[in-house]
């Protein structure tokens, strides 16, 4: 059984930042493996360690700089990686769900995985939709927001728990092949070991263009246009305590006593 794990490098934002047009100024940005995708990789690697899965392949849409993040996924146990990038993707402010799916659909067609595991959402644009849209596009079954996955060797269905709101889980049987979007907490993602990091350098990381995948460059323009970005207005009149930690703690203690706490 082959598992494909679409992973994303997301931008991390400093505590203090400035906005430049429709983006956060690059000076305030870092990069990291998307948190939800980290759990998806771990789930795939555990299935491989359990002898249920034979190969874990990751795919990332990203420029050359994302290779450091892709190596993280390889260091955690993915077997090989595909990076999709193309000049047509340069300068696209917001790669919408339809555009991502057009690219990933071509990768699924080429790889023919039995299972696709990916994060529920990404920490930057937070669409939370790529997995399910991809499943529909490629004709796979799917399950969104999965926080438990049971898969037997050679099974034709996956037993999953989906995490609903309010502390309720839905138990569902899903036919394979399927796309499952993985919720945080499903497992405990491993840190990349030194040995893993060394081995990751030798693993295959293949770059493909839209042409290679047979994807029409016009599809990546998408239907969504980011027109404004700004800091949200505070909805409350927050009283901010100023001063040293001792000063602020004393002011807060006065408030808490006033509210009848610890009396």
């Amino acid at each position: 059984m082959k598992v494909l794990v679409p992973v994303k490098e997301v931008a991390t934002v400093d505590d203090e930042f400035e906005i430049d047009g429709t983006a956060i100024d690059e000076r305030y940005l870092g990069a990291d493996l998307n948190e939800w995708d980290d759990y998806a990789i771990e789930e795939a690697v555990q299935l491989e360690e359990d002898g249920i899965v034979d190969e874990v392949v990751t795919v990332t849409i990203g420029d050359e700089d994302t290779e450091q993040t892709i190596r993280q996924a390889l260091a955690k146990g993915a077997d090989r990686a595909i990076r999709v990038w193309d000049d047509a993707l340069e300068g696209v402010d917001l790669l919408d769900v339809g555009a991502k799916v057009a690219i990933l659909e071509a990768v699924v067609a080429a790889e023919a995985p039995d299972l696709v595991l990916t994060g529920v959402q990404s920490g930057d644009d937070s669409f939370g939709a790529t997995g399910v849209a991809l499943a529909e596009a490629v004709g796979y079954q799917w399950g969104a927001v999965v926080n438990q996955l049971d898969l037997e060797n050679g099974a034709e269905t996956a037993s999953v728990h989906r995490e609903l709101e309010g502390g309720i889980e839905e138990l569902t049987e899903i036919d394979l092949p399927a796309v499952l979007t993985i919720q945080t907490g499903i497992n405990e993602p491993r840190y990349a070991s030194l040995r893993g990091i060394r081995m990751a350098q030798r693993k295959e990381l293949e770059h493909q263009t839209l042409d290679d995948l047979g994807v029409d460059a016009s599809t990546v323009a998408g239907d969504l246009r980011l027109t404004e970005m700004y800091e949200p207005e505070s909805q409350s009149d927050t009283t901010v305590y100023e001063g040293s930690a001792e000063d602020t703690a004393a002011q807060l203690a006065d408030l808490l006593r006033e509210k009848g706490v610890a009396q």
Partner: protein, 318 residues
């Protein structure tokens, strides 16, 4: 004159609050376009749900009687067929776990754009302008969406639920559900582990988040909770890491809490967390990041390192 089709949500026989919210969002959009508001209610006791959904602003309710509980294949087929028949300009769904289990598939099947987790929607009749957040709520964005038809999901609690009764026409929609295309089966529901403490009953909660860095540091917050005679709760990452049991989690997927005082320590305030605690009487946030989303709803805030402030606070009560 675009019509709007809004999809209601229910679980275990109860209509969920977000159904009335999606009616409000749909009604506002329909006012802007001059079109009609259609509501779809699928599976379960659709007739009872339809009566409850006959709310101000709703023109027609389409019931699809098929199965008891949510199944994304049934929803995808029914909504796609309704969209084909009604040709609405906008299809609105809740940005709930179930909404995200069918809305992307509906958009893909219809071949139309999708915009999710919106907090505001406006249209001039041509272009939909969606307001969304990015980077965990640190920034808000406006996005223009092209297309004669658009699928949009709305974030819970951003639109006030419509309560006023209306006089909608109720019509049974005879969706042709292809049983062979149903590839998933819901076999049951489970509640997450209960445990001995019910955080939703507590008057004072000391809640800890990712800023605590390491499991051993939880002792510091425990000590504060004891000093304040408060109950310890947490945001999602602490439970994900296995540092506290699931019954301590505050948020959309955990418990909704409404204490007199909620002290958020090292919690940035992701929308899923805020959904679970914004009803608290007094919210105190201790966090180094003055731009953390929790600061938007905090009544009192300290922009400082929790490892300096919490020991000083314990000192105040010892």
């Amino acid at each position: 004159m675009s019509d709007v089709l809004a999809v209601a949500e229910h679980r275990q026989g109860e209509l969920r609050d977000v159904s009335r919210e999606v009616v409000t969002a749909g009604s506002e959009l329909a006012d802007e376009t001059g079109g009609d508001l259609h509501v779809a209610v699928i599976s379960g006791d659709v007739e009872t749900f339809a009566d409850a959904l006959s709310l101000e602003g709703v023109d027609t309710i389409h019931t699809v009687a098929h199965g008891e509980e949510f199944n994304h294949d049934v929803y995808t087929q029914a909504i796609t067929q309704l969209a084909d028949e009604l040709a609405p300009g906008y299809v609105l769904a809740p940005n709930s776990v179930n909404g995200l289990d069918y809305a992307p598939a509906v958009a893909t099947r219809l071949g139309v754009p999708l915009v999710t987790d919106t907090v505001d929607l406006a249209t001039d009749g041509e272009t939909l302008v969606a307001t969304r957040e990015m980077y965990g709520g640190k920034v808000e964005t406006t996005t223009e969406v092209d297309g004669d038809q658009v699928v949009a999901t709305i974030r819970g609690a951003e639109w006030a639920p419509t309560e006023a009764a209306g006089d909608a026409t109720i019509e049974a929609f005879d969706a042709e559900i292809d049983e062979d295309a149903i590839g998933s089966t819901v076999t049951g529901f489970e509640e997450v582990a209960g445990g001995d403490v019910d955080i939703s009953e507590a008057d004072v909660l000391v809640s800890v988040g990712r800023g605590i860095d390491e499991e051993d540091n939880l002792d510091l917050v425990r000590e504060l909770a004891e000093a304040l005679d408060a109950t310890l709760s947490s945001s999602r990452p602490i439970v994900d890491a296995g540092w506290l049991p699931a019954n301590r989690q505050v948020g959309q997927s955990g418990k909704v809490v409404t204490p007199d005082v909620y002290i958020a320590i090292g919690i940035s305030g992701a929308v899923q967390h805020v959904a679970g605690m914004k009803g608290s009487d007094t919210i105190v946030a201790i966090n180094t990041d003055p731009n953390a989303p929790i600061m938007d709803i905090a009544d009192y805030a300290i922009h400082d390192d929790l490892f300096d402030v919490v020991p000083a606070l314990i000192e105040q009560f010892s």
